[in-house]
Symmetry: C3
Subunit: 131 residues, 3 copies
Amino acid sequence: FLPLKQTAKESCVAKFGPLPSKWQMASPEPPCMKNTSDGKLKILQNALYSIFGEVVFDPNYKGVAPFAVQLRKNAIIIQSLINSSRIQTIGGTYEFHAGDIIDLIFNSEDQVLKNNTYWGIFLVAKPQFIA
Amino acid sequence: FLPLKQTAKESCVAKFGPLPSKWQMASPEPPCMKNTSDGKLKILQNALYSIFGEVVFDPNYKGVAPFAVQLRKNAIIIQSLINSSRIQTIGGTYEFHAGDIIDLIFNSEDQVLKNNTYWGIFLVAKPQFIA
Amino acid sequence: FLPLKQTAKESCVAKFGPLPSKWQMASPEPPCMKNTSDGKLKILQNALYSIFGEVVFDPNYKGVAPFAVQLRKNAIIIQSLINSSRIQTIGGTYEFHAGDIIDLIFNSEDQVLKNNTYWGIFLVAKPQFIA
């Protein structure tokens, strides 16, 4: 036996990585979010969501781009990491709205160890506020 | 059908802003918290709570006060932002006790865009620990 | 009445401190974690977990060790605090795996006020991802 709301929550979880670098969903068609063809995540329902993730910097990165990771909502930075310490945490709880596009971008794709780097999102609650 | 505990959780959510700048509750009289007459939040039950929020700095702010945001518990700072990057995240999970007063204060009220700035709190769990 | 999953979640909460400095569990033998004889926490189930906590620096600390707090997974730092501001927050949501060992260490045990410093962990969700 599973109550309806609990079931809805368990199925509203999406995760990108670690390898393979693709979106994994907790249900075939989660009601609250979907991945876009270009690797981003589209929010389908107004709600409180939590973002989680670990970004692992590759100490053998030889490129010249400064290490930088950005979590964005509608292309606006809502969190950024510029420190190169080995493992870093991204995440937090946000109120997102239907249509919001969330993505996580790196200054250079090969700055991170893809077998250890992942991020994801889950629906926390859908409060109905009274004015 | 909604089990009792789940219902209690869904109703223990409070949010301040974005505009209008006032507290919104997910139930008329949430059992775990209430807003005070001076815009703060009073915790009514010992529990784990999550705080969430986005603070958007106003790039057109002309004042002289340094940009500063403080999340406080009983007037003691538990989180602070002093960076003026556009959007910043506040939040985290805390064990609060009945009687705790939580507030979010700005160095100057007009440093932030009130139509995009909000913060809130919800009850995560009420674990009964065994010694 | 409590649905099975909700019950499981409520019981998968562990907390260390504030005084007494020992692990407290929300059930006698939580299915998802256990404390080790050396004060660490061992994860027993693959799942999303949230870590929470407040670290309160002792302003009267007379030692020479720089203030430093590290949250670690399998002895690798996943979060660190080096700032000596009075109260600091640790925490975040992570995907942990069975066998992971989590601990929180201080540069010197007497750098923090043990009657106000605590940290803990709870199971958030056990999503079953579809490939």
